[in-house]
């Protein structure tokens, strides 16, 4: 028997059709990337266009590796280093500051927190030109410092950790730590950080994805000799745009790590994004 509420939420075949169509359109460009990246160059201009993957991936990818102009491996290494350092730092500094704002009393707490929230609304592009000049002055132009140091902290990270800490950690727990004679730093490390783990995990995933994918700033301060992955891809595509197989093999390899992360942790990432949306 169908209850009234079940009737209300029933799914029609039309709904499934629309959703399947949306899912296909979302996934298709990835598939296309794989198809072209695994095909030999001359089969790409075929009419009709190829629809199934081929066996030329190793051949295509070795062209990427031999390509001195793209510095693909350097880009991959640089991206791994930069994204890891940025992620670790954003989670650490975000959870420290978030803990302080949520659970410690100090003068100026509210106004300082408010100032962090306000900075979240200012686009980074506003400071782009002088920041570029600063990198020249500091001697950081074309080094990994330029793409790492300015991103070691994030206002969003502080805010997110603060929200989570204020609801997930009881004041009693912290008081208990104090009674046991623990210093504030010890309380952070032994009580707060473990309790923040779920939110810290989501923050880490979001930060890693953002850092891995960032383009504008690395493009402005890095040269093709020492790129991040995205910068390397862009130069590869400018210079070898006719060699689609090569460009697509590189693009697929550069996209793969994130797709893997997403397949493993997609549920948490989506949960985090949806939760964040309701609260803001």
């Amino acid at each position: 028997m169908i209850s009234a509420s079940q009737r209300l939420w029933r799914t029609s075949p039309l709904t499934y059709t629309a959703l399947v169509l949306a899912a296909l359109l979302s996934i298709y460009p990835f598939y296309y990337m794989v198809v072209i990246g695994t095909r030999s160059l001359d089969s790409i201009n075929d009419v009709p266009p190829p629809v199934a993957p081929g066996g030329a991936f190793t051949d295509n990818f070795s062209r990427v590796l031999d390509n001195d102009a793209a510095n693909f491996l350097t880009g991959m290494m640089n991206s791994i280093i930069v994204s890891s350092v940025v992620t670790a730092s954003v989670v650490l500094t975000g959870s420290l500051a978030g803990f302080a704002f949520a659970k410690l009393r100090f003068r100026g707490r509210n106004i300082l927190l408010l100032s962090i929230i306000v900075t979240m609304m200012i686009p980074t592009q506003l400071g782009l030109i002088p920041l570029w000049g600063m990198m020249q002055t500091l001697g950081w132009y074309d080094t990994l410092y330029a793409v790492t140091v300015p991103f070691l902290v994030s206002a969003f990270g502080v805010f997110m950790m603060r929200q989570y800490a204020s609801q997930a950690i009881s004041d009693e727990l912290i008081e208990a730590g104090r009674v046991d004679g623990a210093s504030t730093l010890r309380i952070y490390w032994n009580i707060v950080l473990p309790a923040l783990r779920p939110a810290a995990g989501v923050l880490a995933l979001l930060t890693f994805m953002e850092s891995w994918n960032s383009f504008l700033w690395p493009y402005a301060v890095l040269t093709p000799e020492n790129p991040t992955l995205q910068v390397s891809l862009s130069f590869l595509s400018y210079a070898y745009y006719t060699d689609y197989s090569q460009v697509f093999a590189a693009t697929a390899v550069g996209t793969l790590p994130l797709v893997l992360v997403f397949l493993l942790f997609g549920r948490q990432i989506i949960g985090g994004i949806m939760e964040g949306a309701v609260k803001s």
Binding site: G127, L128, L173, V278
Partner: protein
């Protein structure tokens, strides 16, 4: 350890005064110092780094914009001249129109589609819910650079898939990056592909916060699905919708990577600047032509003010429309 202690009665914040003894006294002082000052130490990294690499450059952009500023050479104070120059700069207006055109072509269909998909995902007893959510969100995971490269080939003139498909309905090959309307459409499609799923999820989150008994009561009163959507979902979704619109506005006004890569790295966006956006123009003036960095800074502030105005305008419009 903490579990048994957690049930104990709450202790006062500071321990009681020590009963004498230099060692205890020192311990007490350290505790006081810890309680008073450690919070500042914990929030310091954010303020130091953000101050140096976030706030300071923004202020400096304002200062630079009042100068005829050569990044390597001379700097002369010229007051608001850079800003008045903007008003009669054809390239600036061209970039402004392009930005708005691409923005309209991406934001409007994208949000309507997201609203539609979110409603489908919300209003049904759906199988494979997680699969659909992940599938429509996955475009957001890919880098903009990768998206632009893949779509660049889809829109390729002779062998591109889009032109091939259009051939079936009798439409001649389109030179996608050669004309204004076609390049706007192509670039907007990249934005739409990447952000529809994200907006769907945010709207879905907002929809799920709406109490379900409202729908059930409406159903009993004989209201159909369409009517329920208009009378319950949309009005109650207003705060989330405002949020999504403003987020899309901020992103749309700053559009940079998609048009840059679509133009194969040319900062002017097509031979005739058909799709140069404001962010690209700022980059061109400030970082490609280093001797006009002050003017570039003025473009940056203009861009920021346009974003602020647009967000405000959208906020007011969406609020009024939903009333």
């Amino acid at each position: 350890m903490s579990h048994s202690a957690a049930t104990a009665p709450p202790a006062p914040t500071a321990p009681p005064a020590p009963p004498g003894g230099a060692r205890e006294h020192r311990r007490f002082t350290l505790d006081r110092l810890d309680l008073t000052y450690s919070p500042y130490v914990y929030i310091a990294p954010f303020f130091l780094i953000f101050g140096a690499f976030g706030l300071y450059p923004m202020a400096r952009t304002a200062w630079m914009s009042l100068h005829d500023w050569d990044m390597i050479g001379e700097r002369t104070f010229i007051g608001l001249d850079n800003y008045t120059r903007l008003l009669s700069d054809d390239y600036f207006w061209n970039a402004l129109v392009n930005t708005f055109g691409i923005f309209a072509l991406s934001t409007i269909p994208q949000l309507l589609l997201a609203l539609f998909l979110a409603n489908l995902l919300n209003r049904t007893l759906l199988r494979a819910k997680t699969f659909f959510r992940m599938a429509i969100f996955i475009p957001n995971v890919v880098s903009v650079a990768a998206v632009a490269i893949v779509f660049g080939m889809l829109y390729q003139r002779e062998y591109g898939l889009v032109n091939w498909l259009l051939g079936f309905v009798g439409i001649d090959q389109i030179d996608w990056d050669g004309q204004t309307w076609s390049s706007w459409t192509a670039i907007a499609s990249m934005v739409n592909w990447r952000w529809t799923g994200y907006n769907t999820l945010i709207l879905l989150a907002g929809m799920q916060a709406i109490p379900r008994d409202l729908y059930e009561a409406a159903e009993i009163d004989g209201a159909g699905q369409w009517r329920q959507f208009w009378r319950i979902t949309l009005p109650l979704l207003r705060p989330t919708f405002v949020f999504v619109v403003i987020l899309s506005t901020i992103g749309g006004m700053q559009l940079f990577t998609e048009p840059l890569l679509f133009a194969n790295g040319s900062i002017i966006g097509g031979n005739q600047r058909e799709f140069q956006t404001l962010a690209m123009y700022m980059y061109e003036m400030g970082l490609v032509n280093l001797n006009s960095a002050g003017y570039g800074a003025a473009v940056a502030w203009a861009l920021f003010m346009i974003i602020g105005l647009m967000s405000l305008l959208n906020f007011v419009l969406v609020r009024r429309a939903a009333k």
